[in-house]
């Protein structure tokens, strides 16, 4: 089994190396983990591949051998045309897969519990709220009074609890080097708990198709030293405040670059950092879909198309 795991490891390492020789691109794979969740996910992947190889390798090796040995043109082995049953073989055929599945299922149980995204990774996690909009993400740091578009900055070493919703269709937020994805749905909240153990930049993305700008709904996660995080909070903003009007503009169906145009900023893919206008806006946006004030915060209907986007 060890060499099977070795082979599987090599295969995955090949892919990981390819990704690691990154030409300046952001880290985007859980095979180069930046935190304990992705680390464990990568390890579990290797484990599953290794164990499953026990039942797969016999097929990969056996089929060519059988075809070679028993080919009609030049057969080597005996011919047993009426052989159709063997009790011992039956035990092996059913028994081995059952044993493998028992082992795999135990590991599945263990790792699924261990990596439950709803479980905080430690005391006092940094609270961040994420709102999926059409083709961008708004991140709110309620305690810090700051909000961003398409940038998530977290301090290394402190657990993070991300609470998600959307103000449009269903989306799915993935920051592969740190943690797996979870769906975000309007009027509902879901959670992702993770932590960064080293500094670095990773790409986060929406993985649930939601229209034309889907391919550009990416954001940057920056894991920084705690001191740098405090400095980032203190430095802060682009002069914008995330209030109802700004939010309504952001809610339009635009990618980040076009949204910046709509807000009068320079058109680029740079994230926007804003001061937070209202503490409980996340709650109000969720409540819009449950008898809250549905007209506020840009309403609940089809968002407008962006001005700049329309001009193109």
């Amino acid at each position: 089994m060890s060499w099977a795991r070795l082979a599987a490891g090599c295969l995955l390492a090949l892919i990981a190396t390819d990704a690691a020789l990154a030409s300046g691109a952001l880290q985007q794979s859980f095979l180069q983990p930046m935190g304990p969740v992705a680390q464990e996910q990568a390890t579990h992947l290797m484990r599953v591949v290794g164990i499953t190889m026990i039942v797969i390798l016999p097929v990969l090796v056996g089929v060519p051998l059988i075809l070679w040995r028993y080919r009609y043109a030049k057969p080597r082995g005996a011919y047993a045309p009426e052989w159709e049953f063997s009790g011992k073989l039956e035990y092996a055929l059913w028994g081995v897969p059952v044993l493998i599945v028992i082992v795999l299922a135990s590991w599945l149980w263990y790792s699924t519990h261990k990596l439950d995204p709803y479980e905080p990774l430690g005391p006092d996690p940094l609270q961040v709220q994420a709102i999926g909009l059409d083709w961008k993400w708004v991140f709110i740091y309620p305690a810090e009074g700051i909000a961003t578009v398409d940038e998530l900055v977290v301090p290394v070493g402190r657990p993070v609890e991300l609470t998600l919703t959307t103000d449009t269709v269903m989306q799915s937020l993935l920051i592969a080097p740190l943690t797996g994805q979870i769906y975000a749905m309007p009027g509902m909240t879901t959670k992702l708990n993770f932590a960064a153990t080293r500094t670095g930049e990773a790409e986060g993305e929406n993985t649930q198709f939601n229209g034309d700008g889907f391919g550009r709904q990416k954001f940057t996660l920056r894991a920084v030293e705690p001191g740098d995080f405090a400095a980032w909070i203190a430095r802060g903003d682009s002069g914008l405040t995330l209030d109802e009007a700004t939010y309504a503009t952001l809610r339009r169906r635009t990618v980040l670059a076009d949204a910046r145009g709509d807000l009068g900023l320079e058109k680029s893919a740079e994230p926007i950092v804003m001061t937070l206008g209202q503490q409980d806006m996340f709650g109000q946006i969720v409540a819009k879909y449950h008898g809250g004030e549905a007209e506020r915060w840009g309403g609940t209907g089809l968002p407008q198309t962006g001005m700049t986007g329309a001009a193109e």
Partner: protein, 701 residues
């Protein structure tokens, strides 16, 4: 689309075709759209011209469109599937070509071959077509053709219902096809998750095309399931106990049961989405208490069994060909029966693994994750059973065996990635990524497609009287294997690197080399398609040399090989009395399997009728009218269907009687022919000496 709905033409106007699009916004994307529409139009014109010139309309109507014969219905299903497959493969290639040219930046407009909206339509139609209008008609067609022959029955239990099922499937396929020319298709993928596909976020006709194609063809599939089940339970030849049925019949029974229980869930989820879209309901909307999670839940209650509906008939085919082409009995018949039935049952308990990431508790995910792994056990057993069947055999490397080999070597990799995805903790990472895309193509192409193509190659002589060219058959199989490897192995790597599925653009230049390899795979897939078409054409041209009138070209052991090729419409001159599991094989062992029956009786066959055809037309018009809000036509369509049923119910319908004398004459001609043909050994199988009469002394399995 204009703002007002016209009472006459609904939302239709002159701006709905890709031709107007290309005039308004010229570019590669609209040119490709217009080109596809042109191919459809020119193809239709060419077909009409050909049929008129060859005077085929009459025979087409009399012998095919109005025939209730399950064998002909099966062939029509397969023809439909192959036409749709051509479109699906080309769409796949366009998507690969697009992504190979889609490296972009976050600040610049998406580039590449096609626009993002066009790309989204491509993946939505590709998925819809490949699942519902390629895989499903292929397997339903193959079962229709083979099942009654293997059971020793003349036809399905409900031949006219069978026609209706085919008609409804074809009507659904026609709706997807016409969406190339008239209007847009939906962009929500083949699953069409709301709220994105609700009226607010997808106001146009696109999702409606999908809904009506699914509602109509889904009804056809449900009816098919009932037909198969009743046929297996009621129409078996005397002596054909359940445990004597060939494995293909067993997997057909599994499919029948699963169709009956799974398809209604799809009909329900689609009908609910239709009510949301047409009648202002709020099942899945964002507000007013709607909840999109219910859609995912109901859809996958269908969606997961569907996967096994697709794969089980292929497993049936692999059971047949592994035994026949290794000249051996099938190893572990009982094991295979138990495994097939286990798969059919367990497949209803795993649907939640399609949305591990929806936010439910770890405990729920664990339960469904483990159920998913459990289904790997019977699947694994089956693979080992087929290996044991080949072991100590004398394996002829025919085209079906090449497909089987490709299946063995590639399907287990798909199984591995399935086990990986069954782990919720890993699924959180690779769900919605191209890893998932690679996984399901890895089970569907080497599993379903290879199985069906192997089955077509295997039973083709029974349908048309001549074999397919082995050389070209093998070339096609190798091309499909290579095409699959090059197209989808890179997607595994891309998925692990974090590439989401359905993405019209990407920003990571490291993805590019993998994209190029996948695009090369797309080219190979096109070559495989061309090679498949060429296989049919070249075999047709050499049909005299490839003819196997003896009807048993592979020295088989099941009942269908006892009849002439092509098989007559009545299949058996008199219903066989079955006395063993491999009855035809046993008769070969006993010597002189071809002795005729002592007496012949009149045969009652269901009379030809245009019933299915008319229902198909009405269903198509209903669907098209609903898509475009042409209410008067929709009302006509909806009234026409019960009207046609009522009309048929009111009439006295006499079966067609084939006189005993005619059967006796045809049958004795066949017996004389067999006696006069030289017996071919297995070494001669691929040569012109194979006239369909095998050397029975060689039969040992």
């Amino acid at each position: 689309m204009s703002g007002q709905t016209s009472p006459i033409v609904g939302n239709l106007d002159w701006n709905v075709t890709p031709f107007t699009d290309v005039l308004q916004h010229p570019g590669t994307s609209t040119i490709i759209g217009a080109f596809a529409a042109s191919v459809l139009v020119l193809g239709a014109i060419a077909a009409v011209a050909l049929f008129t010139r060859m005077r085929w309309w009459g025979p087409l109507y009399r012998n095919w469109l109005t025939s209730p014969d399950a064998k002909r219905i099966g062939i029509m299903y397969i023809a439909l599937a192959l036409i749709m497959m051509a479109r699906g493969i080309i769409e796949g290639f366009v998507m690969r070509a697009h992504q190979a040219s889609a490296l972009g930046t976050l600040s610049a407009q998406e580039g590449g071959l096609v626009a993002p909206d066009h790309f989204a339509q491509l993946f939505s139609t590709h998925g819809t077509i490949m699942i519902f209008f390629v895989a499903m008609p292929l397997l339903i067609g193959l079962i229709n053709f083979v099942l009654p022959q293997q059971l020793g029955a003349r036809d399905m239990a409900f031949p006219v219902l069978n026609q209706v099922s085919l008609g409804l499937t074809a009507a659904g396929a026609a709706l997807v096809m016409i969406s190339l020319l008239v209007g847009d298709f939906g962009t929500g993928g083949w699953t069409m998750y709301p709220p994105y596909t609700g009226k607010i976020f997808s106001p146009g006709e696109g999702v409606d095309y999908w809904l009506w194609a699914i509602l109509i063809s889904g009804m056809g599939s449900t009816l098919t399931g009932m037909n198969f089940a009743v046929t297996i339970f009621k129409q078996r030849a005397p002596g054909m106990h359940l445990m004597r049925m060939p494995l293909f019949c067993w997997t057909s029974l599994c499919v029948a049961i699963m169709l009956i229980y799974a398809m209604p869930a799809l009909t329900v989820s689609s009908a609910m989405l239709a009510l949301d879209r047409y009648a202002g309901f709020h099942f899945f909307t964002n507000e007013a208490g709607g909840n999109m999670m219910n859609y995912a839940n109901i859809f996958w209650m269908f969606g997961h069994p569907e996967v096994y509906i697709l794969i089980l008939p292929a497993f049936g085919v692999f059971s047949e060909i592994s035994s026949t082409f290794s000249g051996k009995r099938l190893y572990g018949y009982t094991s295979l029966v138990i495994a097939s039935m286990s798969i059919a049952v367990i497949s209803f308990t795993v649907w939640l693994h399609h949305f591990f990431t929806m936010g439910q508790s770890a405990g729920v995910n664990i339960a469904f994750g483990i159920a998913t792994m459990v289904i790997g056990v019977p699947t694994g057993v089956k693979i080992y059973d087929w290996m044991a069947t080949l072991w100590r055999g004398r394996v002829r490397i025919t085209a079906p065996i090449v497909y089987l080999t490709g299946f063995f070597l590639l399907f287990v990799i798909g199984g591995l990635s399935g086990i990986i995805l069954a782990n919720p903790s890993i699924d959180y990472q690779v769900h919605n990524s191209t890893f998932l895309v690679a996984h399901f193509h890895n089970v569907i192409i080497p599993g379903v497609l290879f199985g069906m193509l192997a089955g077509i190659h295997y039973w083709f002589p029974k349908a048309f009287g001549f074999r397919l060219s082995e050389t070209w058959g093998r070339r096609t199989a190798f091309l499909f294997v290579a095409g699959f490897i090059f197209t989808f192995m890179p997607l595994y790597a891309l998925g692990l690197m974090g590439m989401p599925r359905r993405s019209p653009t990407f920003q990571n230049p490291d993805f590019l080399p993998w994209m190029y390899i996948a695009a090369l795979g797309g080219v190979l897939m096109l070559c495989a398609l061309a090679s498949l078409i060429w296989t049919f054409w070249t075999s047709y041209r050499h049909r005299a040399a490839l003819a196997v009138p003896g009807g048993d070209p592979w020295n088989g052991s099941t009942l269908e090989w006892s009849t002439p090729a092509p098989v007559p419409e009545w299949t058996f001159p008199c219903i066989p009395q079955v006395s063993a599991r491999h009855d035809w094989g046993e008769r070969k062992r006993a010597g002189d399997p071809w002795h005729g029956p002592t007496e012949y009786t009149d045969i009652e066959m269901p009379a030809n009728t245009a019933h299915g055809l008319l229902i198909a037309v009405a269903a198509f018009l209903l669907g098209f009218a609903m898509v475009w809000h042409i209410w008067w036509l929709a009302i006509l369509g909806v009234l026409a269907i019960p009207g046609l049923m009522l009309l048929r119910a009111m009439r006295v319908i006499e079966p067609r009687i084939i006189p005993a004398a005619q059967v006796a004459e045809a049958d004795s001609r066949f017996r004389q022919l067999v006696a006069s043909l030289p017996a071919a050994t297995r070494a001669d199988e691929e040569t012109q000496r194979n006239r369909g009469v095998p050397d029975i002394s060689e039969f040992a399995g």
